[in-house]
Symmetry: C2
Subunit: 346 residues, 2 copies
C-alpha cells in the first residue's frame, strides 16, 4: 500500500525549496510514499525536476495563493480558500491524501484544519503534540498552544490522545502519563489539574497514570507523556528551546574566545558534535494536531530539508499506525463504560 | 546604620553549616550587617565560634523546632510556632530585624509570612520574584509559584511590584516590563493576560510597558521584568533550570567521553569556567516574597555558603533601597489617581 501525503509546498521560511528537498529525502527512506504538492506550479516544477525519483512519485497541484506567516487565523480562513495550505488540508478531507504537512502559520493551519476536518467523536478540542528529547527517553508533550484555556475534561482528553500518540509514534506498549504541575504532591496546583487527575484516575481506562510532574520533567524525562494546557505548554516548549539555543551559542562563543579554547574545541569536536546531534531539533520536527478527523502535521517554520523530511516521516507513521482510529476506539470505550465517567465528569 | 537580618539557621538541605558560613561571607562584603540566628543553640554555637568576626555581629536565639522540608503549609502553621522559620519571620514583624532569610520549605515560609506580616496596602497577594540570567541583561521574573490562580488585577499588581523590585535590586531607573504569553501579538493569549495588559496600559502609572513576550524571552531577555501567574512562572523557571542542568551534565559527559575530548577540555577549560560562572545559579540565589509588609527572602534549599551569602545580600539591598516603601507609594498613587483605575478595573 502506498501512503499519500499532501504537502503545503509554500509554507515556512524556506519554502518551497526545503519542502521539495525534504520530500525527496523522506522518499529515499520510505519508497511507499506518494506526494501531492500544493503551491505555485511555476516555482515548483523546476525544483521537482532536480529530483527524478520524487518526480515520479509526486503530483503538483497549483494553488494560486499562500497564507502569510503573520496572518490572523480569521483572516486566513476568509481569504485563504485557494491557498496551498487550505488545499492540502482539503485533500485529506476528500480522501485524496492520508495526511497533510505544512511549515506555515500555525494558527491558520489549526483554524483551517478544524473547519475542514472537524474533531474526532468524543474530542472537544484538538491539541498540538510533539516528541521532545530529554535526559532519559524522548517524551510526548501536549498541548503546545492550541488551547490557552482548558477545562479538566480537555486535559483528560489530551491525556487519552497523548497516550495513543506515544504508542503510535514511539511504539511503547503502555506509555506512562503525567500532568504538568507546580509540584508532585496531590495537594499542589489549581483546581483544573486536580480535577483532571481525578478524571484520569476514575476513567476506568487502562492508562499508566503517574500523577503530577514539575517543569524539571520537561528536560529530565521520566514519563512518556506530559499533559498540560496550551498556555503552559507553549511557554514551557519555548523556554526549553530558547535555553538550548542560548547555551549552545554561549558555548560556541566561549570556544572561540581564545586560541587556547579554539584548539581545545578542535580536539573535543567529535564529542561535541555527537552532543549537538543528540539535541538536534530537526530530529524532533513535526508536531501533530491530535484530535482532528484527519492527520495534520505542523513542521517548524524555520527548519531545513532534514527537519521537513522528519515531519513527513512522522505524518506517515501516524497514518500507518492508525493513530486516529485508536483514539476513536478509546473514546468509544470510554462512552460505553460510560456511567462511571459521566458521574465523575458532572 | 546597621542592617539586622534574621536567619532561619535550620532551613535547607545543608543547614545550619552553610547558613553560618554564608552569613560570615556576606559580612565580609557588608560590615554593616548584624544577624539574629534562629535555631538549635547547641548546633549553632560551635559553628559560630569558627567565625570570630561573625561571632561579634550575631546573636543566637534558640528555636526548639524545625519546619520539615515536606511539611504541608497548613501543618507547618499549626505545629511550627516555635520553629526557627517562624521565629525569624516574627523578628521582622516585631521590628527586631529588617529582613528574614530562609532556605527552608517554600510553601511554609510563604504561609507563615502571610499570617505574620500580612500584605502591603493595595496588594491582594504576595508573589515570588527572582532575578534570572539571560542572553542580555539579568531579568526579574514573577510570580514563580505563590499564586497558581491569578486574576488580571493580581498580574497588574505583580507588574507594579516587579518594576519597583527591578529598580531596587538592579538599580535600573525605568525598567521595561512585559507579560508572558503564547505570542507577542495583542490578540494572543487568554482573557486574563489580555485584561492585565489593559490594566497596566490604562493605570496612568509611569511604567515602561512593552506588551507580551513569549517563553523564548525567559532565556533571551530583552526586558527587565517579566510578569506571569504562579503556575506558568513556576513551570517556566523549572524548565529553564532543568534544561541548563541537563545540558551542563551532557557537556561534562561528552568532554569525558574520550582521551581526545578530555585533552580538549583541559585546553578549553578557562573559557568553559567563565561560561559556567556566568550561569552559576548561586549568583542569582535569593527569591523575594514581594508584597508582604516585611522583607522575606527565600534561598534555594540546596545552595551552598556562596549562594546563601547572595540571598543575604539581596535581602539587605531590598531593605536599603526601601523596596516596600516604594511599592506602598506606588499603590497609594494608584488609588489617589484612582477614578481612572477603578473604571478600568470594574
Amino acid at each position: 500500500m502506498t501512503l499519500t501525503i499532501a504537502l503545503d509546498a509554500m509554507g515556512g521560511d524556506h519554502a518551497p525549496g526545503i519542502v521539495i528537498d525534504g520530500a525527496a529525502r523522506a522518499l529515499r527512506d520510505r519508497p511507499d510514499l506518494r506526494f501531492l504538492l500544493f503551491g505555485d506550479r511555476e516555482q515548483l516544477e523546476p525544483l521537482l525536476r532536480r529530483h527524478p525519483t520524487l518526480h515520479g512519485a509526486a503530483e503538483i497541484i497549483h494553488a494560486p495563493s499562500v497564507v502569510a506567516d503573520d496572518a490572523k487565523p480569521s483572516v486566513a480562513l476568509r481569504q485563504g480558500r485557494n491557498s496551498s495550505m487550505r488545499l492540502a488540508i482539503e485533500a485529506v478531507k476528500e480522501g485524496r491524501a492520508h495526511a497533510a504537512v505544512s511549515a506555515g502559520n500555525t494558527g491558520a493551519l489549526m483554524a483551517m484544519s478544524k473547519i475542514v476536518l472537524r474533531t474526532l467523536p468524543g474530542i472537544d478540542r484538538p491539541a498540538i503534540a510533539t516528541v521532545m528529547p530529554t535526559r532519559r527517553q524522548p517524551m510526548v508533550m501536549l498541548d503546545l498552544g492550541a488551547n490557552v484555556d482548558c477545562t479538566p475534561e480537555h486535559l483528560f482528553q489530551f491525556a487519552v490522545m497523548g497516550e495513543v500518540y506515544a504508542r503510535a509514534v514511539r511504539g511503547i506498549a503502555r506509555p506512562s502519563v503525567a500532568l504538568l504541575n507546580v509540584g508532585t504532591e496531590e495537594i499542589k496546583g489549581d483546581s483544573v489539574v486536580k480535577r483532571a487527575a481525578a478524571l484520569i484516575r476514575e476513567s476506568g481506562l487502562d492508562i499508566d497514570y503517574r500523577g503530577f510532574v514539575e517543569g524539571t520533567a520537561v528536560p529530565e524525562g521520566g514519563v512518556d507523556v506530559v499533559v498540560t494546557d496550551g498556555f503552559t505548554g507553549n511557554v514551557a516548549l519555548k523556554v526549553a528551546e530558547g535555553t538550548v539555543r542560548l547555551l549552545a551559542s554561549s558555548l560556541r562563543d566561549a570556544l572561540r574566545s581564545s586560541w587556547r579554547a579554539k584548539f581545545g574545541y578542535l580536539l573535543a569536536r567529535p564529542a561535541l558534535e555527537a552532543l549537538r546531534r543528540r539535541f538536534d531539533p530537526r530530529l524532533y520536527n513535526g508536531a501533530m494536531f491530535l484530535g482532528l478527523a484527519g492527520v495534520v502535521v505542523k513542521s517548524h517554520g524555520s527548519t531545513d530539508a532534514i527537519g521537513f523530511a522528519n515531519a513527513i516521516r512522522s505524518a506517515a507513521q501516524l497514518v500507518a499506525q492508525g493513530t486516529n482510529e485508536r483514539i476513536i476506539a478509546e473514546m468509544r470505550e470510554l462512552r460505553a463504560g460510560g456511567a462511571r465517567v459521566a458521574a465523575v465528569s458532572s
